[in-house]
């Protein structure tokens, strides 16, 4: 996936790093810190003296919004703006000590839908900035269709969604020049922006949009930012990077992390191992485990074919029976295919089917353009050899369908190997419709 969410702390750090380039007329104190627990915060206060000197705000930095409505923004002890370092430390320790419920959607102040429950592991701590509602502004940018769109509003803060009709949208084609952009932004500053701030707002928006473009953000939002003359505070930020630009942005982005979102299941070691293999290979290896106890496992070549198989299994068997989604493509080597196959066989042979049926392994694929089928099947055969006993114990029926370079040899080899190892197998070539093996497997 090309667009990846980053933490608020990282988003602010990236902007701070390039501040003078994009916002030369403004100052930003960049007083912000990310910690995982209270003691980290206490320790940090030795160097960052503002932690001791100023009133603080603390909140989780884990890719979810609506933190205020979830009661997860600490800005008051007995009254707003009186949070001390000690209080922040104890609050972070308290919030990170047990699982928290977080709602992602609200109607008014009432939660909507189900809460995700997970541990809070990352917090961002900043000085409390006394300011008036009038000083809060909203700005964001993203790509919509073929254009980049800049959103600006004088109504920043928690209620921006409710006041979405006051948000000004300005679209720019990718080929727009800096001059065209600057001119158009100046012409479209929201009416409600205070007169004294209008010029500064335009200047800031131009820099913001330039940073969005040049730093390869896929999404960039500051809500709100506070304008006090030429002094800017970034109270809350959300950002996504286009990670395909990573090779050009190594210096600009620095050491940025792409965390999994809150409430998402931790990736299993198997999935992490496949991701690692994928990152080291010129080929593509992908694996998502949907339901490890389910009966039908797929090992499908090709991004498109893998989706078609998943669709067909969901249609014909229902998603209850689908254990995984994944694909290998781009001509993986024999050893890469072997590793991929072993990973799936290992997961698949851990337990018998709850209803004691045979499990089904779909080794599917369309007609390859250039991947050598016999070569990839050699890797799968090698994995069979290691797992044959376990496979027989669990009971697995294998259905193969594939075409492309050297497919006759590949099919013959895999059939012979399965027969030799005493595994149940049926093999089909391009004359059989690509997903027909799913129907056949379910008919048994």
């Amino acid at each position: 996936m090309a667009q990846k969410a980053i933490r608020e702390f990282d988003a602010k750090s990236i902007l701070a790093k390039h501040w003078d380039k994009y916002f030369p007329g403004f100052t930003y104190a960049y007083e912000t810190i990310m910690v995982q627990n209270g003691s980290e915060l206490t320790k940090a206060a030795k160097e960052k003296t503002w932690l001791k000197e100023k009133a603080l705000v603390a909140k989780p930095d884990m890719l979810f919004g609506k933190r205020g409505k979830n009661g997860l923004v600490l800005f008051r002890d007995s009254k707003p703006g009186d949070v001390s370092l000690t209080k922040a430390t104890s609050w972070i320790d308290e919030k990170s000590s047990e699982k928290q419920s977080v709602y992602f959607s609200f109607e008014g102040d009432t939660p909507n839908g189900e809460a995700k429950v997970d541990m809070l592991t990352h917090f961002i701590v900043e000085p409390f900035t006394p300011h008036t509602q009038e000083e809060e502004y909203y700005i964001s940018a993203t790509c919509v269709g073929d254009d980049d769109v800049l959103y600006m509003s004088a109504e920043g803060g928690m209620e921006v969604e409710e006041n979405w009709d006051k948000v000004i949208e300005v679209a720019f084609p990718i080929t727009a020049t800096e001059e065209e952009i600057a001119e158009k932004i100046k012409k479209n500053i929201p009416k409600d922006v205070a007169k004294k701030d209008k010029e500064a707002f335009a200047e800031f928006a131009i820099g913001f949009f330039k940073a969005y473009r040049e730093l390869n953000f896929a999404y960039l939002e500051i809500n709100p930012f506070v304008l006090q003359g030429k002094k800017v505070e970034l109270l809350d930020m959300v950002a996504k990077l286009d990670d395909t630009a990573g090779f050009m942005m190594r210096e600009e982005w620095g050491d940025v992390e792409y965390p999994t979102s809150f409430g998402m299941e931790e990736k299993s070691p198997e999935v992490l191992a496949i991701e690692d293999a994928d990152s080291k290979s010129g080929a593509s290896l992908k694996l998502t485990i949907l339901k490890p106890e389910a009966r039908i496992w797929t090992m499908v070549a090709g991004g498109g074919a893998s989706v078609v198989y998943a669709d067909t299994i969901a249609d014909l068997a229902g998603i209850e029976d689908l254990a995984n989604y994944g694909e290998y493509s781009g001509g993986p080597t024999t050893s890469e295919t072997k590793f991929y196959a072993e990973t799936i066989l290992d997961l698949m042979t851990r337990a018998k089917d709850a209803k004691d049926r045979d499990k089904v392994l779909i080794i599917g694929g369309a007609i390859a353009n250039f991947t050598d089928v016999a070569k990839t099947f050699t890797g799968i055969i090698q994995a069979f050899e290691g797992y044959a006993d376990k496979m027989k114990k669990v009971g697995i029926k294998i259905y193969v369908r594939r075409g492309g370079p050297n497919f006759e040899k590949g099919l013959k080899d895999i059939k012979e190997a399965a027969d030799r190892l005493g595994l149940y197998i049926e093999v089909y070539g391009p004359q059989t419709h690509v997903t027909d093996i799913v129907r056949m497997a379910l008919a048994k």
Partner: protein, 604 residues
Amino acid sequence: MAQLYTRDTQAIFWNNNASAIQRMLDYDYTIKRKKPSVAGIVAPTSSSKFDKFFYGPDEIMIPLYRNTTEAKAAQPQADVLLNFASFRTAYEVTMEALELGGFTSIMVTAEGIPERLARKMNATAREKNVTIIGPATVGAIAPGAFKIANIGGTIENIVQSKLHRAGSCGLVTRSGGLFNELSNIIAINADGIAEGVAIGGDRFVGSVFIDNLLRMEANPEVKYMLLLGEVGGTEEYKVIEAVKSGKIKKPIIAWCIGTIAKYYDSGVQFGHAGASANGDMETAEAKNKAMKEVGIHVPSSFNDLPEIISAVYHELHAEGIIKDIAEPSMNVCPTVRKSKQFICTISDDRGDEAHYCGYPISSVATPDTGFTIGDVMSILWFKKRYPRWAVDFLETVLKTVADHGPAVSGAHNAKVTARAGKDVISSLISGLLTIGPRFGGAIDDAAKYFKYANDNGMSPADFLNHMKKEGIPIPGIGHRIKSLKNPDLRVEGLKKFAAANFPSTPLLDYALTVEQLTTSKKENLILNVDGTIGILMVDMWRSLGYKDEEIDVFIDAGALNAFFILGRSIGFIGHILDEKRLAMPMYRHPMDDILYDVQKAEQI
């Protein structure tokens, strides 16, 4: 343009992806194209001038270039760029080609080009009316005309899937892997495809479904279209609009894959980078439903696609819109081919009579043919027929350098060897082996250094300084005894010939200004015969229209020294025959002519 490619379409292939290029040429041979579909290859890091590929059972050479600009200049007719650069450089390669112009379509294979760059590349191409296929694609095909790289897979699969000749379906898919599959399904259930494009799996691709379908609507060979979409994005809705507004009238069969995505969070990425639904409208189900509502043929699942294709095809066939296709004859590519170890581009001894570069020997040998030895040299050495003045010059050079008496080292060696009782060839070789930097080699170097100085606009004084810094005496300058007052008459003859016959002699003119400076320092520092020959050769080639790079290749290959070797062989053979006639005894050098100074070797 209604057709993406024709049987005459030629491409420049960026990156020497040998197996993909070979697949294209196998396809060309199978469908009996007149010219290979790859006109040239851009191989930035290769120092070779061409690469060998099979064309059916034979081999052909495809030229290699260092960059797109060079390739396009040499192959202006090639209007397709196949950009196989990595995701790091694919953008720059495309932009360079767009800047150059002259390309109608550019295919980009890299997956994961930074989104912003991909968008800019696509927008720029759109402005310039260039069709981009990709990024992240396996390409496109116009069956029976032109095939990009690996699309369609092996040649067996291509014939199996009827991709070797035009059928009547226009196929557009996002997935490259399923492209082959659909071609196969269409071949089994209908009559194959007329044109097919895999638009690419990245979020931002150049030409989208609607671009390709509108072109196919205008292409009379296409009778109906098949669109395979995917969950994510709204491109299918543009097709729906075109059907509604009547812009597209031909029947469309369509299916969006990824109906499973609705069961899972957005956290599960199904298929390509572009495949992720933002909102209900982008789900596969919503798109399938919306397409069905405007009368597009939508099956109930991917599994039912074959039936619907068959139904649409047979209906159009029954209506007479689709006619039966006569299967064309094909060449069969041999499965076992052996690469040739040697290449010859100057002569050919197959057939009745041997040829020198296309001229049968009998047509150049006898005086009545009008060919002299200089003509034969020009065609065998330079693969061109030179005009008379140039041929005469070549012969003048040979005659001028044929001999220079018995005392020079090469002649001396030849004579000593002949007197030792060796045969003509051994004696000749022993003489030739002395030719090098100190004997005869000055021709090459004179040409090289004077050309370098002149090319770089050095004044004679600059040139002298430059050579001083390099620590090399100026090649082609200086003679043992001759001077301006006592000129070398061989040099005078060459200069006179050049003045009378060459269109111009800029390098000689420059060399003479250098000579003025050197002779003002010492009077025997004249332009000698080696220098004059080397410099006039450069002037000759320039007058004949050779480019500087080509002349540099001649010099680097040692072509100038070859004149000395060939000419002086005449003299050496004369000396050897002279020795044989005189039956001179074995030569032993007189001992009193040797200074003996031998110390006892010390023990270490």
